[in-house]
Symmetry: C2
Subunit: 241 residues, 2 copies
Amino acid sequence: MQFTSEQRLGDGVLERAFTLGEIPGILWTPGSAPAPLILLGHPGGLHMMHPRLVARARQAAAEGFAAATIELPGSGDRPRSAAAEEARADLRRAVEAGGPVDDEIVDRLVLPLVEKAVPEWRAALDALLALPEIGGRVGYSGGVISIGVRLAVVEPRISAAVLFAGSFVPRAILEEARQVTIPLHVLLQWDDEGNDRQMALDLFDAFGSKEKTLHANMGGHTGVPQFAGEEANRFFARHLK
Amino acid sequence: MQFTSEQRLGDGVLERAFTLGEIPGILWTPGSAPAPLILLGHPGGLHMMHPRLVARARQAAAEGFAAATIELPGSGDRPRSAAAEEARADLRRAVEAGGPVDDEIVDRLVLPLVEKAVPEWRAALDALLALPEIGGRVGYSGGVISIGVRLAVVEPRISAAVLFAGSFVPRAILEEARQVTIPLHVLLQWDDEGNDRQMALDLFDAFGSKEKTLHANMGGHTGVPQFAGEEANRFFARHLK
């Protein structure tokens, strides 16, 4: 893990860009150390996502958490995958046609992404937990819910997760959800135009966790209200501190 | 409104029993006055519900709210209605038989209760708002969700509502829900054995409110977690202060 730049944000949060091999990432740390860590998931494209990631990281830092994220395979400045681009184009056509989206397209888009991304998040976790600024429990928060499900199943260092139910989920991941046992806080945008609400409810139902909470709010994909972010933060405060 | 007894609870909250004509009720006031008011709905039976109502009232008082409740028609010490008792028995038989519950039974049980209870809650509100201890906005919180829906539609003094999705809802009330426009915070116990989850989701979908939030948690009918009560309190703090 190589730090490539740093800047101090207004509220004392230190933002540092890093690379982990070929993978760009960002780490935010609060004044206090060692801090429990929240991994910030996102749909890909660190530059485009940066303003929203910074807002989430500052909210986390206000509760005493460090936060970190890495670029997804095939997104941002990372090399594109021809197969993934084709699957994404097929998905877009299927959504625009208004019909149901074929499971095969979802599998082709999401499963290889999960297969590649999850080991990268785990490698990032190895590097982050070796830093003196980071200590204590780890949470995962964010989008591409299928990555969150797989991480929750395979990575025992993740103690709790906030998941955004806002993307297509392969049937295989829905089955995998039954093996998740950590506390979960699931956010659903009720009228999300790019989202299959019934799939999100089925996924919530499938999770094996004894403590799981679903928070559904109005507004579209990017319209998660401020208070919903605060509630997610309190969920982490209950489980990571 | 006649106060019939009073006691000071450990945390400085004053609990006073009252009668409003034939109707028994309870008022809890915090130290500070005038306090915004939360009407505490419940499924009927003030004596049996008292411990849970006191807990909710104390949680409300800790945020600076007064709380009040009245007995439902046909419950507790109030005269029974033969028609309601028959409808309740029919509902119990239908639930025990495991089949779907006939709409006609739900209508026969719930609609007369709504017709009788809502004017009583409004009369209680008239009396409560005349007290110097009460002032500012009013919220409704609680069970028999159909009563909450009707109150939200007809009573303009109610500014926000926390509704427990945990009882059978007549089709007519589902239609009425489209006319609700105040901010709503809906609690759903995901695995509530006495509850129709799909009906609860349909009802949430039907509400006309621009701000509506659904919080689904694990556990049965009476297992609403402590943190869910705190989130509901913060919802009222956002909308009633």
